[in-house]
């Protein structure tokens, strides 16, 4: 019988939640790497038993862990993320040049086809690749060396590369997103990159429609329609129908268009999910009501999904990497909160229930659909 494995990264360890295809009864394993920050855990699409985890702490730095048995056991692999050449500088918060310094791995994106290849998005913003299962990492420095690189500035959470999307129909094409530089695309497997931010409007930067400088929080793609992208920006939900060449706002009737995660239904490319969050600085659900919003029209028209979610006194956040979907029928949707809850819907968002309620603050949620 098919099943799902939910990979949860938290401030104090990783957890693996498993269930059969009914998604009714859950087994909770963890904490793995207790006491460490686990920014992200993700499985290889090419070999679902292979998982990669980003483990870090302020004391002992960055580690990468790999499991080859679905998370039962783990081995530390390579943790040397050395920028290519002399890294140079980017802009600091006060506008002064600041040397590129590696801080941590925010996001791990295993290759769609090769279980030994995995990409890492890091702070300070850079993209690394390993082709030997995480043992050694090489920077794809064409991104950081883009002409605009010296002008990139960090967002409040650091200057992080947090989103990596691979185009399944064009292996040479990838998208990344950086806070607060924006979205970038390569069409030559990471050698060269260009910004793809036309149409973005950000009032928090001097030139609202600048080529770079936008605080993109997340981008999502449906694998069957890779030229259509959905973006949750610091403010605004946007859509591109031409692989990022241009964007238009689809915030529509959302109660607030601020938020972090965005994801797409596994079987309906025009069904999109966001979690509106009150901002600036509050960063909790409007009115203390935790609501996922779903559009079945590719944006603009949104409906609140509330069944099973707290509708009073709820002041948690949902971070950018903390939402995922499975590919069962019907599509399962999952998200984790800074309050330590992981909610699941086995019916595309119509109703929700917590899998767990009291984990450490959740940083990331990924889902594997198992045969």
């Amino acid at each position: 019988m098919s099943g799902v494995r939910v990979l949860v990264g938290t401030r104090k360890g990783a957890f693996v939640l498993t269930a059969d295809g009914t998604r009714a009864d859950w087994d909770v394993s963890g904490p793995h790497f207790a006491g460490w920050e686990i920014y992200h855990v993700k499985g290889s699409p090419a070999d679902p038993a292979r998982l990669f985890a980003s483990q870090s702490s302020s004391w002992f730095g960055q580690l990468i862990q790999r499991s080859d048995d679905g998370g039962a056991t783990w081995q530390p692999v390579g943790n040397e993320f050395r920028y290519d050449g002399v890294p140079g500088t980017h802009q600091w918060y006060d506008g002064t040049p600041h040397p590129w310094e590696f801080a941590r791995v925010w996001h791990l994106e295993p290759s769609l086809t090769d279980p030994d290849t995995v990409y890492a998005g890091v702070e300070d913003a850079g993209l690394f690749r390993s082709v030997d299962g995480g043992q050694q990492w090489q920077e794809l420095s064409g991104l950081r060396r883009h002409d605009s690189g010296s002008a990139w500035q960090p967002g409040a959470g650091g200057m992080c590369l947090h989103t990596i999307l691979q185009d399944p129909s064009r292996p040479e094409r990838m998208f990344v997103a950086i806070s607060a530089a924006g979205a970038f695309r390569t069409d030559d497997a990471g050698t060269t990159w260009r910004p793809v931010n036309r149409g973005l409007q950000s009032n928090g930067i001097p030139d609202a429609d600048a080529e770079v400088g936008h605080c993109v929080h997340r981008i999502a793609m449906h694998p069957a329609r890779p030229d259509v992208l959905f973006m949750q920006k610091h403010w605004d939900v946007l859509r591109s129908d031409d692989a990022g060449e241009s964007w238009h706002e689809v915030s529509g009737n959302l109660p607030t268009d601020f938020g972090f995660p965005i994801d797409v239904h596994a079987h309906e490319p025009d069904t999109v999910y966001v979690v509106p969050i009150k901002s600036d600085s509050e960063h909790y659900p409007p009115d203390g009501r935790l609501r996922v919003y779903r559009s079945r029209t590719g944006g603009d028209e949104w409906e609140a999904l509330t069944t099973g979610l707290p509708q009073r006194n709820c002041y948690v956040n949902v971070l950018r990497d903390a939402m995922a979907v499975d590919s069962l029928d019907s599509c399962g949707v999952y998200f984790g909160t800074t309050g330590g809850q992981v909610y699941a819907s086995a019916n595309a968002g119509d109703s929700w229930a917590p899998i767990v309620r009291d984990l450490p603050p959740v940083l990331s949620v990924e889902v594997q659909t198992l045969p």
Partner: protein
């Protein structure tokens, strides 16, 4: 034989219990001890000092013989009691909340 005490998280990572005992070929210095430690336990590379600069990570401290040796030059001789194995070289994760 040089004795090294690791903090709990690094013992877990290195999969060791209790003290680590090292054969250090060269003079007993901070650098030689850390080089030997990382050679025996490669998973510890980058956790105590930076891969590139070899600078001690800010929240890692080195104690021995009731002294804080954290800011000593990496090639300075360690106390004789450490070199002789009478006292351990202690790697500490600085106390901090969170």
């Amino acid at each position: 034989m040089i004795r090294v005490v690791l903090p709990a998280h690094l013992r877990t990572l290195a999969r060791v219990d209790g003290e680590v005992q090292l054969d250090v070929a060269g003079p007993a210095t901070q650098r030689e001890v850390l080089d030997a430690l990382e050679a025996d336990f490669p998973m510890l590379r980058g956790t105590m000092r930076d891969h590139v600069t070899q600078q001690r990570r800010a929240f890692v401290r080195f104690f021995a013989c009731e002294q804080d040796l954290s800011n000593e030059p990496p090639d300075a001789p360690l106390p004789a009691a450490v070199a002789l194995g009478a006292e351990p070289f202690v790697v500490v994760g600085a106390m901090a909340g969170g």
